[in-house]
């Protein structure tokens, strides 16, 4: 099993000492995210998220299938993550690493279990036909903080996606092509985002020996390799926690976790506004001139 190259002892010491003094290698503040960019593809449901050097592509597809027998009124919604060797030499094809399992579980809990997508609205004919929505997530470049970037990509892609319109007449189900009827957006209930806090042990503050945990937001791969533990908090902008996961690692004061969750809400609101704004820009770009241009008899010639 190939492993990620470990940073050298000098690098480790340098970064850890800098972090204890409140400095980061790229000059960011401890709670500052890298440059975040979100692009949508020409097709509906393609989102390309760049966070510093981390790049994630999410693509949503829909098809009509038979629902699960134990859930006849629900559609099917799956998130497939793929960490290809392209992103990092530590990833292998067809052999999910622990990172991949944890990533897909986190996305599953954040987006699927929190009912962000109303699966009941995907049902076409109870017990016989339903939409199956599948999100394929590809990590194109891995420079740390895969979780936050992936979650943003999945949420953005799903909100951007339009599925073909359908109608039922008697017992016949008609699925319309985009030329016949404008595709419709998914029934989206809330937008959860993940915020990952990386812990780097504690430093003493003040004379009385009180200790304060040091944490960073949006760690690069190098910082991620040096952290002692991490905590991922998923929330929506209404302040509802969808999931919290601190999978072991060095212990952290309970109060720090509570403080982190308050800060996470603020960051989630920023993310939420960012995605809203990008979606609005994209729809404006697609709908040039609006209805008037469509109704006009003029042509380009």
């Amino acid at each position: 099993m190939p492993r990620e190259a470990e940073p050298s002892q000098n690098e480790k010491d340098f970064i850890l000492k800098a972090v204890r003094e409140g400095q980061r290698l790229d000059g960011r503040a401890l709670d500052q995210f890298r440059q975040l960019d979100l692009k949508f593809g020409d097709q509906y449901g393609v989102a390309d998220v760049t966070l510093g050097k981390t790049r994630i592509l999410a693509k949503v597809t829909a098809e009509v299938t038979v629902p699960y027998t134990d859930r006849p009124f629900d559609g099917i919604f799956t998130i497939a993550t793929e960490l290809s060797p392209m992103a990092s030499p530590a990833f292998e094809v067809n052999r999910p690493t622990e990172t991949e399992v944890l990533l897909s579980r986190l996305l599953e809990k954040t987006v699927r279990r929190s009912n962000a997508l109303d699966t009941e609205s995907l049902c076409l004919v109870a017990g016989q036909k339903c939409w199956s929505i599948r999100v394929d997530l590809h990590v194109l470049s891995h420079d740390g903080n895969l979780i936050d970037a992936s979650c943003l990509a999945v949420v953005a892609a799903l909100r951007h996606f339009r599925k073909p319109d359908t109608s039922m007449e008697g017992a016949t189900l008609t699925v319309y092509t985009p030329a016949e009827r404008e595709p419709v957006p998914l029934s989206w209930l809330h937008s959860p985002f993940c915020i990952t806090f990386s812990f780097f042990g504690a430093v003493q503050v003040g004379e009385d020996g009180a200790e304060k945990d040091i944490w960073l937001l949006d760690t690069t791969l190098l910082e991620e390799q040096l952290r002692v533990s991490s905590c991922t908090i998923s929330m929506n902008k209404h302040g509802e926690i969808c999931q919290v996961a601190k999978p072991g690692g060095a212990p952290v004061e309970a109060m720090t976790v509570v403080q982190c969750s308050t800060l996470a809400l603020q960051k989630v609101k920023d993310f939420s506004d960012f995605v809203d704004q990008k979606l609005a820009e994209d729809s404006k770009h697609r709908n040039k001139g609006g209805l008037l241009a469509e109704l006009s008899a003029d042509n380009a010639r």
Binding site: R105, Q243, P251, A254
Partner: protein, 273 residues
């Protein structure tokens, strides 16, 4: 069948007659498997766990292929490998689970890296592995918490040095995420029925401190409830630690009575007085 939480407000008693801050009945035994290096059996209500510890052994990749591993002392110490098996008869509906169930794998990882934080692995070499096999015999809520507690106890039985017990407990909230209900009570140590209906989290702390080693919350809950739930769970962890400590001391007392060791004698680094 949905859990009827409406009666809770009247008598402040839960479905099984407990108050909000009561743990379920706990039973535990150490050294249930004489042939193993360390073993424990733990009951928390109707959740029953058996744990077998083998090792530290030289690393054997074949036996740890389905297990999740975590290195101790920053890669300088022994590796902790955890594998969980849920017996087909553990739940009401009998079903067989696949080996690569992602939920199980996630739990394995959480337990492995949680225990790695407590185990003093530097006394063994980095090429050794402590293998922890957890068998779930009966499942009735707080599964992750019970698994952590059982593993902790079995590690003590195996004589693996640890900074403190890694103890875990669940806590829930009586109000669902939708209600902006300020009078919601936190609940301690949930059973399956409550887990299905209420938002809850599992918290693992190092001994009786407020230092959080692992925390898992999988349900939607208002941010304002988090602190209350965490405080309740941390209290529960203290209770569990006292209980586990009692079990270990009773076992030590028994060993003295049976003449396995003399009173006041130091076994390894463990003082039996």
């Amino acid at each position: 069948m949905p859990l009827d939480t409406s009666t809770y407000n009247l008598a402040l008693l839960r479905v099984d007659g407990r108050r909000w801050n009561e743990l379920r009945q706990q039973k535990a035994q150490m050294g249930v498997q004489p042939s193993a290096d360390g073993s424990a059996y733990l009951e928390q209500g109707n959740t029953k766990i058996q744990c077998i510890v083998s090792g530290p052994n030289e690393r054997d990749t074949k036996s740890t292929s389905s297990a999740s591993t975590a290195p101790t002392s920053g890669g300088q110490g022994a590796t902790v490998a955890v594998s969980i098996t849920i017996a087909p008869f553990a739940t009401v509906d009998r079903k067989r689970r696949g080996r690569n169930d992602k939920r199980l794998q996630e739990m394995q990882t959480t337990i492995a890296s949680g225990l790695a934080a407590a185990v003093q692995g530097q006394s063994y070499g980095p090429r050794s592995t402590i293998h922890i096999a957890l068998n779930v015999l009966s499942q009735d809520g707080s599964l992750l918490a019970a698994l952590v507690n059982a593993a902790s106890l079995a590690l003590v039985d195996a004589g693996v040095p640890m900074t403190d017990y890694l103890v875990a407990c669940t806590a829930g909230s009586t109000s669902s995420y939708a209600a902006a209900d300020e009078a919601a009570d936190p609940l301690l140590d949930l059973n399956t029925q409550e887990e299905q209906e209420l938002p809850f989290l599992t918290l693992a702390t190092l001994g009786a401190t407020d230092r959080v080693v692992a925390m898992v919350c999988e349900s939607r809950v208002q941010l304002a409830r988090l602190e209350g739930m965490m405080a309740t769970a941390a209290d529960g962890c203290k209770g569990v630690r006292d209980f586990l400590d009692g079990v270990v001391r009773d076992k030590g007392e028994l060993m003295v009575q049976e003449g396995a060791v003399g009173r006041g004698e130091v076994v390894g680094s463990m003082d039996l007085d």
